[in-house]
Amino acid sequence: MRPSRYVKLLWLTLLFSLSAPLAWAAPQPESGYSFPRDASVHGHRIDWLIEITMVFCIILFVIMCIWMALAVFKHGEDHEAEYDHGDTKHSMYVAFSLSAIIFLIVDGNLFYWAVKDLNEAFWAFDDAYAAENHLKVEINAHQWAWDFRYAGPDDVFNTADDIVTLNDFRVPVDTPVIVQIASTDVLHSFALPNFRVKMDAVPGSITQLWFQAKRTGDYDISCAQHCGTNHYKMKGQISVLTQEDYDAWFRHATRVSELAYDPEDESAHWGWTWEKL
């Protein structure tokens, strides 16, 4: 990209932010040491699974600690050790069944719910496509920013009416959003902590994720995969808008994009024909 194009892009970004119908509010700070607030329809599934497994783990860990403490305090030097190789059928049976029971409860629970959650929510792309109002967005990750591409009024990607934004991701509430992700340089990972999802951006291939916002507000987009010196600055913002606000922004952004479209600027046409992956 030539420097003049950078300047143009900067001006456009400025134009976007000043004239957008909804002011670019700062995300709300979090507090405490639990998960950041959940803005997604499906995030609670992950939260619950982590929390319940954490409860299991804490119980097991406490039992282990008590066991060790009792052994150390009760069976110290004064205690005469018991001669037991633990290789009787009975003790083997006990050890093996205990392991199996813990496995079936803790890991079994994890596996069951993980598969269920993936099939019903996080991998249920068919359901997302089936929703009439679903939104498709293409993302180009590069050092150290996120480009977003909306298909525009014609619903076809990489055409003149596409909306292209920098680090500014706007989505309507209660709408399945399907994103496809590419990278032009190194690996990145598109992470939405408030939506409990992330997906790597891999040069040479297109990856996907989908989510659905359940409340309006502004949240951080984070890069989760080390991508070089300024990895820590690869931050974007996702704004969840009401349908009316989103439509207003969409009309406005379409006009700006039409003005900004430059058929000769090949590097600006990084989009691709959308195909179901």
Binding site: Q28, P29, E30, Y33, S34, F35, P36, I46, L49, I50, C57, F61, M64, C65, M68, A71, V72, H75, E77, E80, A81, Y83, D84, H85, G86, M92, A95, L98, I102, F103, D107, L110, F111, A114, F122, D185, V186, L187, A191, P193, V197, K198, M199, D200, V202, P203, G204, S205, T207, S222, A224, Q225, H226, C227, G228, H231, Y232, K233, K235, W270
Partner: protein, 576 residues
């Protein structure tokens, strides 16, 4: 006996201390090098913690920061834990514990150390070149690790160093595998081998199988960096190659997942033995522990995909890897139950090594349990690449392996140097280290649970983690305390080496073979090769107590009297 002639002692200084083929000298060389790199890696860790505690100080810039965490990870794994835990204890204990006069290939053993030394020179050199050392993370993912992301010689030298140290590891491991198979003393059946040797042997097998994969990946990466190939550079919009960066991740993790077990299996083995020795009680279900370790070894080879859940992996493949990963909890739980049963109803001696082993069980409990969140695809969607991951693998690979390494040092120091280490300083070292190490990695898990991603120069840039600065600050304080807590160890190490109490042959009163020879052992270890008659864990045996008046019996010792009434002794029944 032709296999193991008695070589004459070396007389020349160079052959005795530098280019020695004696496994005991090589063990000490690995230990010294490992401890020096532990100090360097620890220093780098403190730099990272300083940055997170004082992000506005700008003591280092983001580029130096990326180098720091990259080199911290690589140095700790390949140049600190590997030489100390595998290089030192493997060399020291395998021949002594199985009753051999040396390794199967003493010359290869020497070459292994000096190849490793060359890699150490390369890694140090990488700090001194223009643009600094490697900065693509210890995982060295391309394209970042190609010239696209990290130009300069630093990254190349580091990849080369990994390749060279990998060669050293393969030499050592071939030696371990062969020695255990070929040079066990008469009577040292597989079922009588100390668990320490089992752990080290299984580790060596994993090394022989999987380090070459890493070496291949590293070599291809070097070709990409300097010879214009494009194995890992993909054809995206901005580039024109036809390779695949994900291919490197497969190669890396085919090695990388076994690697985490490579670093913990020796510790598990040593723990299985020593929890028994210091509880004065037989190891609980010896065969179960062996099979559990074998099962983990096998499973470790087929679960690596859980590191790549977020790369857009095929769902069926992902679910398969998830199931296999979770299955590892079965043998791991079995091991835990066996350790807990081993110390139950024992007669526990809280010596420094025992304390460190109990500490290792404690932190490994934390590390092991938190792994299941990351082996599950849906929970990993949120936790992947967060500090939760960092806390988890530090609890297993760093905390558990490190505490076990320290335990091993305190335990075998008398055998290596002929002197005892100070128990007082050792206990100070234990309490400070274990408490602070737990705090540090718990702090990491807490901020990770709250969403903080790893490898961030300034984590407070993000709104959702801006409030975590306090927790990170206190975690850093705990880390600095942990570093300070190593002072008693350094004092202990040097003062004991010079002025420690002289160690007798068997200061801990245990029955494995290394304690039947003087401390330190002669060059050829055993004047007469021992004949083994029983397993390594014969403690609290009432017959032994009646016959010998002590609670243990060596692996080579016969009971002087038999009890005709029961048709033999309980010892024989147990070792049968």
């Amino acid at each position: 006996m032709d296999l193991q002639p008695i070589h004459p002692d070396p007389t020349n200084f160079w052959k005795k201390y530098v280019f020695s083929t004696d496994h005991k000298v090589i063990a000490r060389q690995f230990l010294w090098t490992g401890l020096l790199f532990l100090a360097l890696g620890g220093f780098l860790a403190m730099v990272i913690r300083y940055q997170w505690a004082f992000p506005d100080s700008r003591a280092i810039g983001p580029a130096e920061y990326a180098s720091t965490f990259t080199m911290h990870g690589l140095i700790m794994i390949f140049w600190a834990i590997t030489p100390a835990l595998i290089g030192c204890f493997g060399n020291l204990t395998i021949p002594l514990m199985i009753g051999a006069r040396d390794m199967a290939f003493p010359l290869l053993n020497m070459l292994s150390y000096w190849t490793f030394f060359l890699s150490a020179v390369l890694i140090i050199a990488s700090f001194m070149v223009e643009l600094g050392a490697a900065a693509a993370g210890w995982t060295t993912y391309p394209p970042l690790s190609t010239q696209v992301g990290t130009p300069g010689w630093g990254q190349s030298l580091v990849v080369l160093a990994i390749f060279v140290t990998g060669s050293a590891t393969i030499m050592g491991s071939v030696n371990y595998v062969t020695t255990v198979i070929r040079l066990r003393a008469p009577g040292m059946t597989w079922g009588r081998m100390p668990l320490t040797v089992w752990g080290l042997w299984l580790t060596a097998i994993l090394n022989v199988l999987f380090v070459p994969v890493l070496a291949a990946g590293g070599l291809l990466l070097l070709l990409d960096r300097h010879f214009g190939t494009e194995f890992f550079i993909a054809g995206a919009a901005a580039t024109t190659g036809a390779g695949d960066p994900i291919l490197f991740q497969h190669l890396f993790w085919i090695f990388g997942h076994p690697e985490v077990y490579i670093l913990i299996l020796p510790a598990w083995g040593i723990m299985g033995d020593l929890l028994s020795f210091f509880s004065r009680k037989p190891a609980y279900w010896y065969k179960g522990q062996v099979w559990a370790m074998v099962a983990v070894t096998v499973l470790s080879a087929i679960v690596y995909g859980h590191h790549m859940f977020t790369t857009g992996m095929n769902p069926l493949l992902g679910q398969t890897f998830m199931l296999l990963t979770l299955i590892i909890s079965v043998p791991a739980e079995l091991l835990f139950l066996n350790w807990l049963h081993t110390i139950w109803k024992g007669s526990i001696r809280l010596t420094t090594p025992m304390l460190f082993f109990l500490g290792a069980v404690f932190v490994f409990g934390l590390g092991g349990l938190t792994g299941i969140f990351l082996g599950t695809i849906s929970t990993d969607l949120y936790l992947h690449d967060t500090m939760f991951v960092v806390g988890h693998f530090h609890f297993t690979m760093a905390a558990a392996s490190l505490l076990a390494t320290f335990a091993g040092i305190y335990y075998w120091f008398p055998k290596m140097y002929g002197r005892m280490m100070s128990e007082t300083l050792g206990k100070w070292h234990f309490w400070i280290s274990t408490v602070t190490i737990t705090l540090v990695f718990t702090g990491q898990m807490v901020v990770g649970y709250a969403g903080q991603h790893r490898r961030l120069y300034d984590p407070y840039q993000y709104t959702f983690t801006a409030h975590l600065d306090d927790m990170n600050f206190w975690t850093s304080i705990a880390a600095f305390a942990m570093a300070a807590g190593q002072i008693p160890f350094v004092l202990n190490w040097f003062s004991s080496m010079v002025a420690g109490r002289k160690a007798e042959a068997n200061p801990w009163q245990v029955g494995t073979l290394e304690w039947t020879v003087p401390s330190p052992p002669p060059h050829h270890n055993f004047d007469v090769l021992p004949v083994v008659v029983r397993g390594p864990h014969e403690y609290a045996n009432p017959d032994v107590r009646a016959a010998l008046g002590r609670d243990w019996i060596g692996q080579t010792e016969d009971l002087p009297e038999r009890d005709p009434a029961s048709g033999g002794t309980a010892v024989e029944a147990a070792s049968a």
